[in-house]
Amino acid sequence: MRCFICHQEIIPEVNWANVWKIDAKQTCCSECLSLFENINPGCPKCGRPSVEEICFDCVRWGRDKEDPLEKNISLFRYNDFAKDWVARWKYRGDYELIYSIAPQVKKVWREAGWNYSVVAVPLSEERLSERGFNQSEALIRTLDKEPLHLLERQGSEKQSKKRRTERMAAANPFKLKKTIHQPVVLVDDIYTTGTTVRHIATLLKENGCPKVYSFTLFR
């Protein structure tokens, strides 16, 4: 067993609880895992860390009209370590890095108890051929789910290169291919301002979807 982040050998700790049965395969060493920061409790709506009540941004989203997003759950804070992790996984294209936190991803997913269909966030053709994989689909596969492809993306501007105001002012880059009439969960890697998920949520809700949730790795 080796850590999928630092490649160090993982020597499982044996105690009386697991002496008869070694724990399930570990994929991340304790040092690397300790560099991720958990979010607790965070904003009950979007999971923004270091607050406990509905945060300012969520209030803003629901001020003029109803917020299309029901709730977001994120695993970890988007700290420097997470930024490096995302850069290596998504931009450098180290696909197997997702295995490092797969057990945590599955655990949080189970705890959320969302028994809804899972919708993938599409990439533009250009980004997809550059990266070789869609990060949202990779995550959904980690959850042992089948992604629903309801959307397509026009244009290829990177969200991460824009500022909050620019993102919010930008036109909706997504187009609906198929409608759905059940609640869904959107799965993506990062929730920064929440614009991407709300763009999609608006589209889905306008076309008959009753509730939209989102599940993201980092917040």
């Binding site: 450098r92 294209g93 696909y95 051929s129 070789g132």
Partner: protein
């Protein structure tokens, strides 16, 4: 230096020179080349397409370890493709995409009298410099320059580099540490003002199309048969000495008939074995450039040291020595990052003002600069400052010298930080320990042996 397992016969031999220095001797991923030029450049064999992963080995970094390969459900191929996780930081090498090798034959100018350095070499430096220059002239060979810390290794290289440039050769000076690249770059540029020296490291923006390059050993992963002269500084340093892919890269970056020069103050067993069996020619400089002997470390026993360190405290005896007024600055080496911050707090509580640096420190460069300008009196550091950095007048303490991070090479290098300047060729070096280790004794013996040999010369 390297095992003869890899012959690199997959790298094409070219004879027609071209005028694209940014492709010369480079290994490129498809997306690193403008797509509209690929066909033309391949047709004229400036670029050659080679498979990227062959027999479970990555051609760019030489990785063969199964756990450092991954599978990717590739959107383009609609199937699982193998990719290398070892060199992923330089962009993904994936089996379904080729690598492009740039022909090394490029027109490099010949620079007459490029060397502007007017300093003088000591007789032992001169001897090494002559041997290096001879090797540059003949090519096809290796030489280990075994010189004590502070012998003036960089200056010994100048005549050899000048000779190579005069013959229109391409020269690379590689070192494992980015700090050393930063420190040597201005010195090299001053010595060769007519030439644009390029510094390549993980944070630099340069493309690596220069004739004279100073790079981290990691950057050599981008080159294949590119250099006529390749110098590897600090061959015994982390991460070079224990990373097989860097050895692979260093071997490949030089042309088959390249002159290969290795510099070290503390050869590892692998090199020592090759020296003893006369496979690796060596030139030996046991004397510092100012002619004074190396400061010999004092081994001081300190009872219960680890118990104090666990509480982030120091025994009174060491604390008093640190507090004692001194003429020089003080460099204190510690075994871990947490200890540098822990002891900094402890010393502050005892009224001793210090600063700390470690590998992850963003302000490292700036703090080292402040220490050099004597704005800081006492610097707490991990082994990050063990080599490559020069402070004119320091005393050196190693606390818990028995810790495994302080191996023989590290201790010799650390002791070599003291007495660098001809104005102050002495300095106290004290290893505080709670039991002598072989590493400490070997380091002590090596320093004494060098001083003996130096006296004979």
């Amino acid at each position: 230096m390297f095992k003869k397992t890899e012959a690199f016969n997959w790298i094409p031999h070219h004879s027609t020179p071209h005028t694209f220095p940014h492709y010369a001797g480079k290994i490129l991923l498809p997306h690193e080349i403008p797509p509209e030029h690929i066909e033309e450049l391949t047709k004229t064999s400036v670029l050659t397409r080679v498979p990227s992963i062959i027999k479970k080995q990555c051609r760019r970094c030489g990785n063969q370890k199964p756990h450092l390969f991954g599978h990717l459900p590739h959107a383009k191929c609609q199937q699982d493709c193998l990719y290398c996780r070892n060199c992923i930081q330089m962009g993904r090498v994936i089996e379904c995409e080729p690598l492009y090798i740039g022909s090394p034959e490029c027109f490099w100018p010949a620079w007459e009298n490029a060397l502007a350095w007017a300093g003088e070499l000591t007789p032992s430096q001169q001897q090494a410099a002559d041997e290096i220059a001879d090797l540059v002239k003949t090519g096809s060979g290796e030489k280990l320059v075994w010189a004590v810390c502070g012998a003036g290794k960089t200056e010994m290289l100048f005549p050899g580099i000048a000779l190579g440039l005069a013959e229109g050769k391409r020269v690379c000076l590689a070192t494992p540490r980015i700090d050393v690249v930063r420190e040597l770059f201005p010195r090299l540029q001053r010595a060769f003002p007519a030439i644009e020296v390029q510094a390549l490291h993980g944070e630099s923006e340069k493309t690596g199309d220069g004739q004279l390059i100073i790079a981290t050993t990691h950057q050599l992963l981008r080159f294949a048969h590119a250099f006529d002269v390749i110098v590897i500084d600090e061959v015994d340093a982390f991460p070079f000495h224990n990373d097989p892919s860097l050895h692979f890269a260093a071997k490949r970056a030089g042309k088959p008939d390249a002159a290969r020069i290795y510099l070290t103050a503390t050869p590892r067993n692998q090199e020592k074995r090759r020296i003893r069996s006369k496979q690796l020619p060596v030139v030996f400089i046991p004397k510092r450039f100012h002619g004074h002997p190396l400061p010999v470390p004092k081994l001081t026993l300190s009872f219960n040291l680890s118990r104090y360190l666990k509480k982030n405290e120091l025994p009174a005896a060491i604390l008093n020595l640190i507090k004692k007024p001194r003429d020089r600055q003080l460099l204190i080496f510690l075994s871990s990052i947490s200890l540098t911050s822990g002891l900094r707090g402890f010393l502050a509580s005892k009224g001793v003002v210090t600063e700390q640096v470690h590998a992850g420190d963003e302000d490292r460069k700036e703090k080292v600069e402040r220490f050099r300008n004597k704005e800081i009196d006492i610097l707490l550091t991990t082994t990050i400052l063990e080599r490559g950095v020069t402070f004119p007048s320091v005393d050196v303490f190693v606390i818990d010298a028995g810790h495994e991070v302080f191996d023989e090479a590290a201790l010799v290098q650390i002791a070599g930080r003291a007495g660098r300047s001809p104005d102050d060729p002495k300095g106290d070096v004290i290893f505080f320990h709670s039991g002598k280790t072989n590493a400490m004794l070997d380091a002590y013996d090596l320093i004494r042996k060098m001083n003996r040999l130096g006296q004979k010369q």
